[in-house]
Structure formats: C-alpha cells, structure tokens
C-alpha cells in the first residue's frame, strides 16, 4: 500500500503512479469529500448532484442502515435511532454530553466515551462516524474509479487528544488510510491562501455546526505557519437552533416536550435561522405529536437578541488567540470566514467590528475546508507538481501536562507549540524505597488536575530501592504531526521504562478497533484473510522495491555486515511473500521496517548534510 519515497521530496511520480487521495470534512451537521483533479480541488457530488452529506446515521427497523439525506428525513419520526451531530460525542463521556441539554438518545455509560443505544444495539460515536466516512469513501471510489490510496480527515483545531484519536479510529474502521489529521481552519487557509497567492497574517474564524475555531496563521513564501489557535469544541450553529427552540418552548409552554417534538422544534428553528440570513422575518408551522399545530414566527431582530450571548462567546477565544500570537487585532491582514454558521449577518457584523475590517468570504464557507484537505491529501500522497512545494506548520491547541503532588498540573508541552514536538520532564521519588510511580497525563490550561481533561494513567514499576529523591524519572511527551500524543517514562539510573500511546482513557483498545473493523465487513473469514493477504503483499512489494532502490543509491552508508543483515531481511520477506499466511507476512514487513530504520536515519542525515553544504557554498560565493 505505502511506497517508500525514492524521489526527492516535492517531485511528482510518473502519471500512471498518480495515487487517488481525498480530503474529508467530517462535520457536525454536514460532511464532504473533495479531491484534486487536473490541478484543481473540487468537491465530489453524490448521484443526485449534492455535495453536502448530512452527518446523520439511522439504525432503522429490521437492521436497515441509512446515512445522509435519507437518515436526515427520519430525524423527527425516529429520533432515538437517528443519530445527528455525532461529532459532539466523539471522545466524550456521559458527564460531557449531559451539558448539551435535552437530547433524544439513550446514552450508555462506557469508560471514557459514551455509547448510544439504538435498534442495532449499542453504537459508539466512533462507529457512527465511521458510517459517514464509509459513505463518503464509497462516493469517492465510485467517482474516481478506483481504490483510494489515502485520505486527509479534518478535525476542529481545538479538538483535544481524545477527540482526535476517536476521529482517526473512525477513519480506520471505515477502511481509510489516514494520511493526516488536519485542523479545519488550517485546511481553509490552504485553500484560501493557495487560491489567492496570499502573504501576511490571517485570522481564520471557523464556526461550524458544533465547533468553533479561531486560528492565526502567517503565510510567507509558501509556508503556512500557524501562530496560535483557540476555540470552543462545544459551540456551533447547533447552539443557535437550540436557543431558538428553547425560546419557543418557553413562549408556548412546552417545557416537557417529548424527544420527537424537540426534534421538530429544532428542525423548524434551523429552517427559520437559515431564512433569516436574507429575510427580515420568517415563520414555520410545526405539528406536535398530539396533533396541535403551532404557528411559529421570528423576526431577525428577535433572533439576534436571543443569540447575542452566543456571538459574544466567540470573542473570548478570538482575543486569546491574538494574545498568544502576540498580535493586536489591527495587525491582522485578513479575516477569513469558514463554516455555514458564519453566514449569519449579526455574526459577520461582530467579526467585522472586532477586527475593524471586512471579512473575506470569496470561497464557499461550507466547502473550503474539504477543498483544503484535498489539496493537502494530494501533496501527501506524493502527487505534487514540480515547484508546488508549500509547507504546513501547525500547532497543538491545548497544553499537555502531568499530575504532580496536591492534584496540581505541571505543564510539559505548552499550548501553541509547533508540532511535531517532544519534551521531557524529570521527576523523582518522594519516599524511601519507592518502587513504582503513577503517571497521570492531562490536557488543558487550568492549574488543577480536576479542571483538566484526563488523557491516560499508567505506572512505571520496578524502580530499584533508593532513598527518596535519588531516582531520576524522565517522562517524555511526543506529539506527532497529527497532533496525537504518546508518553513514555524511564528511570535514568537503571533504564527501567514504560510507555503508552495515549489511548486507554477514551475507551477503545486496539483490539476493539479491530473488532469494529471486522464487523464493518460482511465477509466470511476466508474473504477477510484473502483481503489481508493481498494488502500485505502490496505492502511487502512496495517495501522491497523502495529498500532495493535505497540500497543502490546510498548503500555506501552501511557496513558490509549491516548490508548483509538487510539483504537477509529482504530474503525472508521474499519467502513470506510466497506463502499464504498474512500474519507471518505482516510480521516480516514490520521486522524489516524496524531493521531499516537506522539506514533511513543515515539517509536523512545525508540529505540534510548535502542541503547544508550547498547553503554554506552559496554563502561563500555571495561574499
């Protein structure tokens, strides 16, 4: 599946090697898939010509599953089995979803993340999201006429580690090779910046259906550098609908409306909200379950009054992002509006008043994220055109830290650090002969552990007996280019170590993901094995070809013994490739990948060395 890159970064492979890659905007209310075709990004429509897929999944009677428009049509009639805005539940626990107010679902408490009771049994938000992604994948493969090489999936910039991990798992369950998780405002900046050849400092104001992000970026000669990001992962257009529905419930004495009626009121609220973008007033007729008809009417002025606090709520994160970037509002060269909710006139006015500049809306605010993701996917898949060597430098939105004595947080990686980033912190034992140390990883800005989100707990055991304060325990945090954290701990004097990919807290183990993945395919065991074997064979062929090319090119970096060992690895991979055991083949691929890492490191060193030497030469020649 993945081929090692033999060509220089930025070079395009031969036309026949062009890989199919897509960008997916997995939104709270709508999702989209886009790709780059003949040099420009475009959203892919469904058979009926619609690009927006409602992010709604219905687990209907007798096991019938529907996704998108069809599911959306059932929202009011079968609310408990029709899951909308599932993005709000990703990586969230029961206590979190309780804050969203009355929802028509039966939530099941599960460690780390809620489950939802449906006609098809308990479903995790990860599985619901996977259904949406699977639908978009099918749309893309049909439209592009082949299997996808990979996808870039967008997430709100302000998503924490649990929410990001949940999104990545959903994509894996949908059978997608995730090339990168990309922050939504950054995706918008790519689409906007490349389209307009912009330079300068930009604020991306992204208010989607359920999330709010504000990112400040600097665009200089093809480098998109995120300076800071802030937001609210529980604020979006949905809240404006809720506010209107609440207003009507109060006005019409419907305090304890049923799930169905709540859904009907919400649907009417959304419709009225959308019409108020251009109209001065709008009305809706709602028939309640007991037959009563309600004639609902709202003027734009009333709407703006009801939702003013929500508009105000976006300005706090905006100020924070500017302060973190060390900028005043006047120093921003452009403000880009992203997300369907930024169509609301009073929101646009508030943004304009804050930045004292008219926001830019020349790209469709609903499509721009998917388009940017498609451009990034195209580049990551290795389909860059010559000279198309822009670079993206993003940041981690929230500080990462550890619990120390007294329930206090010691920050290890501050928010807005450019990723990938690694930091180590040293701790010691506080009791004589202490044999274990608990490591509790948290994310957030507050000083108390109880006010931050708990990401993982693990224990470093086997510390040899020492007096208090003598052990030197180094805890290392690594955030990768997807913004995902892994943590390891090591006692320095003895080398005892423990590490964890930050995952357990939110509830899905690797085995559970694998089980969900299997559930998704209605294949017999034999079919699954055949598919796995075919995938591993492609993987093995790619690895063999790339490693042979690397050996031919940079073989002089190896000692004869090292070279012989890699050749032996290639030979045993070849043997495994002839067999039919996909597990043995996978093990051989992994072993050779591990064994070739020092070689890869030396090759990278050589590449940097040559670049530096070239630069030093330039400096000499210009003097």
């Amino acid at each position: 599946m993945s081929l090692m890159q033999i060509s220089e970064p930025g070079e395009t492979p031969e036309p026949h090697q062009r890989r199919l890659a897509v960008g997916i905007d997995l939104g709270t209310t709508h999702s989209l898939v886009a790709t780059v075709r003949s040099g420009s990004a475009e959203c892919l429509p469904d058979a009926a010509g619609r690009v927006l897929l409602p992010s709604v999944v219905r687990y209907g009677p007798s096991g019938v599953l529907s996704v998108g428009h069809e599911a959306h049509a059932a929202v009011a009639d079968d609310p408990a089995n029709t899951i909308a805005s599932v993005k709000r539940f990703m990586g969230r626990g029961v206590a979190d979803v309780a804050k969203y107010g009355a929802l028509p679902y039966h939530f099941v408490d599960a460690p780390g993340m809620v489950g939802i009771e449906t006609a098809a049994g308990v479903r995790s938000p990860v599985q619901v999201s996977a259904e949406i992604l699977r639908t978009l994948r099918a749309r893309a493969e049909e439209s592009l006429g082949g299997e996808l090489f990979g996808a870039v999936v967008t997430v709100p910039a302000y998503f924490d580690d649990s929410q990001r991990q949940a999104t990545k798992d959903a994509a894996r369950i949908a059978g997608l090779n995730v090339l990168r998780l990309l922050n939504e405002p950054t995706a918008a900046a790519i689409a906007y910046g490349l389209d307009n050849a912009s330079e300068g400092t930009f604020a991306i104001f992204d208010l989607g259906g359920g999330t709010f992000d504000l990112s400040i970026l600097k665009l200089t000669r093809g480098v998109f550098e995120v300076l800071s990001t802030s937001g609210d992962s529980a604020l979006g257009g949905d809240d404006f609908d809720q506010a209107v529905a609440r207003h009507w419930r109060k006005a019409h004495g419907l305090a304890d409306a049923s799930g169905r009626d709540t859904r009907r009121l919400l649907a009417a609220a959304r419709e009225v909200k959308e019409r108020l973008t251009s109209a001065e007033s709008a009305d809706a007729l709602v028939t309640l379950t007991w037959g009563q008809q309600l004639h609902l009417r709202l003027s734009r002025r009333e709407f703006e009054e009801i939702t003013a606090p929500l508009v105000q709520k976006t300005l706090g994160p905006t100020r924070k992002a500017l302060r973190d970037a060390g900028l005043a509002a006047a120093q921003v060269d452009g403000v880009v509006l992203v997300g369907g909710a930024t169509r609301m006139p009073h929101l646009q006015r508030a943004v304009e008043a804050f930045f004292k500049r008219e926001p830019l809306v020349n790209l469709d605010p609903e499509q721009v994220v998917a388009l940017g993701a498609a451009i990034q996917a195209n580049a990551l898949a290795g389909n860059r055109a010559a000279g198309d060597d822009w670079l993206l430098l993003d940041v981690t939105p929230l500080s990462l830290g550890l619990e120390t004595m007294g329930g206090l947080v010691e920050k290890v990686i501050p928010r807005n650090s450019t990723i990938p980033v690694a930091r180590a912190q040293e701790f010691t034992t506080f009791r004589d002969g202490q044999a274990a140390m608990a490591v509790h990883v948290v994310q957030g800005e507050r000083e108390l552990v109880s006010d931050c989100r708990s990401l993982a707990r693990f224990e470093l055991r086997g510390i040899p007996p020492m007096v208090a304060g003598a052990a030197r325990i180094v805890v290392t945090f690594q955030v990768d280019a997807d913004g995902l954290l892994s943590v390891s701990a090591r006692e320095k004097t003895t080398g005892v170590s423990a590490s964890v990919a930050v995952k357990p807290s939110y509830g899905l183990s690797d085995d559970e993901v694998a089980a969900m993945l299997r559930e998704g395919f209605d294949h017999a065991q034999a079919d699954r094995d055949a598919r796995a074997l075919a995938e591993q064979r492609v993987e093995a062929e790619g690895l063999t070809a790339a490693l042979r090319a690397a050996l031919a090119q940079d073989g002089d970096l190896l000692t004869p013994a090292e070279r012989a060992s890699l050749e032996a690895g290639l030979a045993s991979l070849d043997v495994a490739r002839q067999g039919t055991d996909h597990r043995a083949l996978k093990a051989a691929v992994e072993a050779l990948n591990r064994a070739s890492e020092p070689f890869a490191a030396r090759r990278m060193d050589r590449s940097v060395s040559r670049a530096l030497a070239g630069k030093r030469l330039d400096q000499v020649s210009t003097k």
């Binding site: 970064p9 890989r19 670079l391 980033v421 790619g542 890492e597 490191a601 940097v608 060395s609 630069k615």
Partner: protein, 180 residues
C-alpha cells in the same frame, strides 16, 4: 553515526554559535530544514522513513524554538559554554531587583482588585522596557565581554520578568472573560 542530527542548534540551522542572531536568517534556515525533513514530505513513505522524519522535524522545531527566544537562546548558549544558569537552584537576587519585583507584584494585585486593565497594560510596557534593556546587557555579556556569570544572572532575572508578565496576561484574560 548521524553527524547532522547530533549537531548543536546553531550548527543545525547553519548559523554562527553566538547570541547575536539574524532573525531573518534563522527563519529561512528553519523553513528550509523543515521543508526537507517534515513528516508531510514522507506521508506516503515507509514506516521507517516516517518515524525518522518525525524525529527530525521535532529536532528542527526544538532548535528553532530555542534560538528564536532570547532567554532560551542565552540559556542554551551558556550551556554550550559549560555554564548552568541554575534557575531552579539559585534564587538569590540582588536586593534592588527584589524590591522592583515586589513593587510590580503589588501593582498587579492592585490592578486585579480594582479591575483596571489600563494599569496592567501600563505595567506591561514598563516591564517590556526593562526586558529590552536586559536583553541588550545580555548581548554584551555573551558577546564581546564574555562575562558568562553575568549572563547567568541576567537569564535568572529575565525568567522572573516572564513569570510576572504571564500573571498579567492571566489577570487580563479573566477580566476580559468576566466582562463577556
């Protein structure tokens, strides 16, 4: 074994090992290096390449972050010269600096209780001026004077300034937050 990876931050970015730095040259060198090693350049490559790219990009970010910030750069340079700034262990400060500290702290508290953002902004400007002056002294100490002990003491003082400024930001943030 991997000579480039184990170079110091200055060498890695092709800059002279000195406190005085050309910010534009630093930015250019960093972007050029990231353009070569960033994981986005290897997303379609094998696992070994992707891991190596992540380590390199992490290394490049660390070097850039350290050199961009004057206090971090000074601390790092002093470390290369064999001097430990001792910020955790050595908290002894000259009395006049301590007096100044206490005055600033009191001003922050006053502004907090009287909810006076203008006073905080003024205080921040005062601290910024003081910082600029210390940066100039730091440049002299680590440059021509080669007075590394004075450099260590200035780094310790500047760290105090950063802490106060962080407090000011926090107070301003709470004020803005509660004002809606």
């Amino acid at each position: 074994m991997n000579p480039e990876f184990s170079r110091n931050h200055f060498e890695l970015l092709g800059l002279p090992v000195a406190f005085a730095i050309d910010p534009a040259a630093l930015d250019d060198a960093y972007r050029e290096l990231q353009g070569r090693v960033h994981p986005d350049r290897f997303a379609a490559a094998g696992e070994a390449e992707r891991r190596v790219a992540m380590q390199w990009a992490t290394r490049a970010n660390e070097a850039y972050r350290t050199l961009r910030n004057p206090v971090d750069r000074a601390r790092y340079l002093l470390g290369l010269r064999g001097f430990d700034t001792g910020e955790e262990s050595n908290t002894a400060m000259p009395p006049d600096f301590l007096m100044q500290q206490m005055e600033w702290r009191e001003s922050v508290e006053e502004a907090r209780s009287s909810r006076d953002p203008a006073a905080l902004e003024a205080l921040r400007r005062e601290i910024d001026a003081s910082r600029a002056e210390m940066h100039a002294r730091l440049a002299r100490a680590l440059g021509g004077e080669r007075n590394y002990d004075a450099g260590c003491s200035l780094v310790r003082k500047l760290r105090f300034l950063d802490k106060i400024e962080a407090e000011i930001d926090e107070v301003l943030e709470t004020m803005a937050g509660s004002a809606g």
